[in-house]
Amino acid sequence: MRCCNRGILVGFVFCVVVASAVVLIAADPVQLTRDGRLKFATTVCSNGREIVYCELANPALYRLMKLNLQDRTSQPLHPKAETSEFDPVFAADGKMYAFLKTIGVLQAAIVIHDDMGNKLGQVAPAGGFSGLRSPAIAPDRSRVVYSFGEGGRQQLFSAKFDGTERQTLADTPGINNWPTFSPDGRTLVFGSSRDADFEIYRMNSDGSASQRLTNSPGQDIRPKFSPDGKRIAFTSHRDGNAEIYIMQADGSHPQRVTHSPERDDYADWLPDGEQLIIVREHDGWHDLFLVSAPSGQ
């Protein structure tokens, strides 16, 4: 009997140790790429099976890459691209994506493709030095929202995929950037310097009812709604360097996710809402990592 109890005890301890190890492993960042090139702007696609991101392919070219999460291999999304492409974003259902493409000397347009790579439209820049920024596709795939500089300000606009029917969503002093839709399409979160350095704001998708969500020294940028729309992941410099944070969708309960002496940035959610893809600078390299997202409240 005593032996049996000891066996149960040993088994219990073993289970606790194993469970702890599993938790630790799950909490550890998992490195997904190993080429180390400068990387930006992650976007999850294919129901979480693939990640599209931007890398500095050579000293003169930004290139879009697609990472298969199963075999951890990366391939160029557009192998024949000869000019820089960057800021990729997929629609929530993965059926189309948008990105920025350099189309001339200091000229960059938003290009929209379906998931087969067929071009659906292009939002062209204005004349002269002109480029659009940070596209986001509405969940109903009817419009694209983007940031664009005019009159010394960087505003948020919404337009059809050919650039027509442009509507102004955010027209304030300062820089407005990184708009992202909530899963239901009713809300946008974005970064803005209208009040100070970059902070995160939300507003209705028609541009009404703007509300500030963060207030910290240093920039809070690149917000992304979680798949259930209840939380927002973002990058913050509040603790001295770029780290990933999560807060509730109303801005409450900010929680630090990453703790790295180097830079963690460009987070996007996997569909399970429990993990984030990030770009981590580590020992001078830049790679994609998978990190656990705390469950929050």
Binding site: R153, H237, R263
Partner: protein, 445 residues
Amino acid sequence: MFDVGSFRTKTCGTGGRRSFLRLAASVPIGMGLSQAVGQQVERHGPRAKSVIFVFLWGAPSHLDTCDPKPDAPLEFRGPFHSIATRTPGLNFTELLPRMAARSDRFSIIRTHATSEPGHPDGGTMALTGFKEIPAPVQPNFGSIVAKHRGHKGSLPPFVSLARGIVMDGGRRIEGYGGGALSQAYDPLLVGCSAEGDVEIPALQLLDGLNPLRIRDRTALMRQLDTVPRTLETVGFDSWGRHFQSAYDLLLTPQARQAFDLTRESEQTRGRFGHSVFGQSSLLACRLVEAGVPYVQLNYSRHVEALNPGFEFGWDTHLYNFELLQDHHCPILDRAYPAMLDELQERGLLDQTLVVLMGEFGRTPRISPNAARDHWPPCYFSIWAGGGVQPGRVIGSSDKRGEQPIGSPISPLMVGTTIAELAGLDTQARAEMNVLNGGQVIDALL
């Protein structure tokens, strides 16, 4: 009199630029700055055995990097937070935390001004101290030091780290080399990849010597074995001095080692960042350690950012805030502090002058397309090591970063100070007939 009006420098082409800068020709640009104009600094030999001139080609925004104006109106100050440095009263933006943490190792000048609003002219002015026209083009600061020191051993006296002569679009910058001193004092051009592979373009001009990968010594020697046969084919007349120089240094083990970044630990290489600029910065340290007197470390070969086929430079007419945040500042903020640390740890910082600057600043008022254009009347430089007193803040710009308060500091004064610290005193400069009229920035010493 120094009369600065407004600037219209919205295009980067050679045509259409207009500047309303007027400098009274009768008074040098920096008159009044120094209380000891022409004063000789007492010394025994050069304070700087070597110079690393870090050229932020394309011109970084001073407001978004080292001269933030957090109290300026929103249309000027930009979106970045201002952080304290280790130097009392000196703030940088949050994009440069590592540099801020090392500000006690360098001094900063925030009152530079140049008369040249475009890249080709501004580049030549920044590298020579003089306008490109009238001919002849004056020599690069590095060429002056190279002539003064001479070509000793197998290492060249002047190395420019880039895959070619720095360019603005298709136009090369005439102040890249020896100019009036002759091509004999042009730099040896050396390229370095993000992976640390070193290329010497001069050797590519000969058949049988393709882009050189120094890390592969066996292949290198095999390639070099073909050179005599190649020479027999092409003739010795076409074997220019630079090819000889490159050939000589590659045949010398000590010289080859200076170019071989694989001799550094992975930790050291990572500290600089795996970017072209990061690994080039490490290479600059190795070249200085090996005895090269002058290294011009170019951030990029081209000024433009996001132009098809061109490297990403600091000319951020478009996406200024995005490029600084995502690309340029993370690279710079890793490589430059690592360079200071590395030189310090190798005991080289005291004898190596490190100067970091662009060719001008960028518009304090945010441009219509939410970026920043050229701004010649006000920009910054950072000086470390080699006879410079660290921790000083020299001069300041006005509330919006538009104009220097007090007398501005010219590129000619930059070159004169570099030459002075490298051992060319007033007499040596006069005998060489270079940097005429230049004054030393005494506040640095």
